[in-house]
Amino acid sequence: MAEQATARPSGRTSTAAFLGRREEGAMLGISRTSRYVAHAILILGVLIVAFPIYYTFVASTHSLQTILRPPLPLLPGDRFWENYSTALFGGIGRIGGVDVGTLLFNTTAVALAIAIGKIVISILSAFAIVFFRFPLRMFFFWMIFITLMLPVEVRILPTYKVMVDLGLIDTYTGLTLPLMASATATLLFRQFFLTIPGELVEAARVDGAGPWRFFKDILLPLSKTNIAALFVILFIYGWTQYLWPLLVTNRNDMNTIVIALRKMISFADADTEWHLVMVTAMLAIVPPILVVLFMQRWFVKGLVETEK
């Protein structure tokens, strides 16, 4: 959702650029009325998506007492600094006194490791599969392809057993390693590499570029928009992981923010520090939004453009 909302303005600017100097919105065959209707629907959609987030933000600035005594005000309260500093630095009782800062650090580390790890592994495997002739090449390709049918949930028990045997419970390695192998990203890179003309590869060979140089000087720069788009998608994938971190972490200070959020909510309403839950929820969505905002231009480029 976040990326859609942020991708939209950029879409508009590129359309305007595409239309050249024509009057804004003066697209052929689209009447004024239908444009208003279209915008009304879009605005309605934005409101529907944005309101819960706004409401969460409002709740995160009130005291627990205000939240527990309905109705909740629609305007932000006066406890912003208090709630946020408590959550970030004070430690939260229900999750063993760990502060949200640690959780954010954990989750960022995990999401980054997963995203970067996936990209590194998949780009290298795609490089091998597309540009090298070695025995059993197609066998390996199909092996990678088949793992698409085995998502984490299907292989979770054996994977867990392996992690326990290797002593990787409650470690960053344990949190990230099993999620790194990615058939999807490998296939994506493979498809992109296949579009690179054979003559380009041969030109590089004549220019004296070995496989490593070719990869570094030609393949990587050509793949950068793809890498950026994948990074955004995979970072959010890593950020929102739930089942695997739940299984592989026991210590509270190794939790990711999504797990901690769940742990903070007790069945008994009065036990739950709702104001801190709201703060944590708000903080949990900030890094993915930052990543999308920061990478937006590349992300859209990677999805839309095939550089040639």
Binding site: E199, E202, A203, A204, V206, G208, D217, P221
Partner: protein, 362 residues
């Protein structure tokens, strides 16, 4: 600068398909050798074997007297210009040209000197900071040439470098390539399917067909004395007229299959009864005043007016019999119409006789 020498070079795919069937060729230092032929004749495969992009099944390729069969493309010290230019899309023109030198560890100031030198030669100086996609087709082609020049290689290899350009630019680049190759004096191998390119560029022309070199000679020699029917039909535009005939009158004339009797002058005629093909280029047919002096009569079915020339398409008529297609290239100011009957004479010494069985010149 070096000689390039091929000895019985063969290429077999999967043990069964022979793409190149034993070609021997010697290109002297500084010469331009053009490989020409229809698509699938093995000319590109042969070039790629010289480049080291394709393994050689048997035979040897030597550059500068050294057998290079097992060397990689970079170690052979050759430079190649590709059909689709194969410029690195993310690099500026400057970096495209410098890349090969950087990989060889050439000092920076030397790279700069050479790149700027090549850019000046090719008129690319103002484009050095641009990306390939901001250039036109002709400019990209020049960058591809520049990439070859800066390397100062022993040989240039061109793989149909002009086939992506429009006709006008192609003609212009053709002359540029020729001049450049002359002034640099670098031994070159040039692959094309375009016979105009082949004729204008070549010092040595190799006409290939189905993996075999049909004829290796200078362009004019090939035009004047094509060794086989294939070469006769391939070189020259419009293609040479080929008429079925057999020797007659005790080796003093030719009996056309369509009927009629010919006595072409100044050529060796086959013995009586031998079935042959008579080849006459359209430009070697001359319109004569009356039917008595004519060798062949042409019944016109279509006329192409090109300005300088008029091409008369039709078939030969002798008596009532009709035979194969004929094209005559006549002066532009001749008024010819469909259904005209044109008396034509074959110029002295310009008829070609090929054996109908082997296809070789008699």
């Amino acid at each position: 600068m070096a000689t390039v020498e091929l000895k019985d070079v063969r290429k077999t795919y999967g043990g069964t398909v022979e793409a190149v069937k034993g070609i021997s060729l010697s290109i002297p230092d500084g010469a331009m050798c053009v490989l020409v032929g229809p698509s699938g004749c093995g000319k590109s495969t042969l070039l790629r074997m010289i480049a080291g992009l394709e393994a050689i099944t048997s035979g040897t390729v030597s550059i500068d007297g050294k057998v290079v069969n097992t060397l990689g493309p970079a170690e052979r010290d050759i430079a190649m210009v590709f059909q689709n230019y194969a410029l690195y899309p993310h690099m500026k023109v400057y970096d495209n040209m410098a890349y090969g030198l950087r990989n060889r560890g050439t000092p920076k100031d030397e790279i700069d000197r050479r790149v700027r030198g090549a850019a000046a030669t090719l008129g690319l100086t103002e484009f050095l900071e641009r990306k390939p996609r901001e250039l036109s087709g002709g400019q990209r082609q020049r960058v591809a040439m520049g990439r070859a020049i800066v390397r100062n290689p022993k040989a240039f290899l061109f793989d149909e470098p002009l086939s992506n350009l429009d006709a006008k630019l192609r003609g212009q680049m053709r002359v540029e390539i020729k001049n450049l190759q002359r002034s640099l004096g670098v031994t070159s191998v040039y692959v094309t399917h375009d016979q105009v390119e082949a004729m204008t560029l070549a010092d040595t022309l190799v006409v290939m067909n189905q993996g075999v070199a049909e004829q290796i000679d200078t362009p004019m020699a090939i035009y004047a004395r094509p060794a086989t029917i294939f070469v006769a039909g391939f070189i020259g535009s419009p293609a040479m007229n080929l008429l079925a005939a057999e020797g007659g009158d005790n080796g003093k004339g030719l009996k056309l299959a369509s009927g009629g009797f010919l006595k072409p002058r100044d050529i060796v005629l086959p013995e009586s009864g031998r079935s042959v093909l008579l080849g006459v280029r359209p430009e070697h047919l001359t319109l004569v005043g009356d039917r008595k002096n004519a060798d062949i009569e042409l019944k016109v079915t279509a006329v192409e007016t090109l300005g300088a020339d008029t091409l008369a398409h039709g078939h030969s008529v002798s008596g009532d019999a009709r035979s194969g297609e004929l094209i005559a290239r006549l002066p532009g100011n001749v008024g010819v119409d469909v259904d005209d009957l044109l008396p034509l004479a074959i110029n002295a010494g310009s008829a070609h006789i090929f054996d109908a069985g082997t296809g070789r010149r008699v």
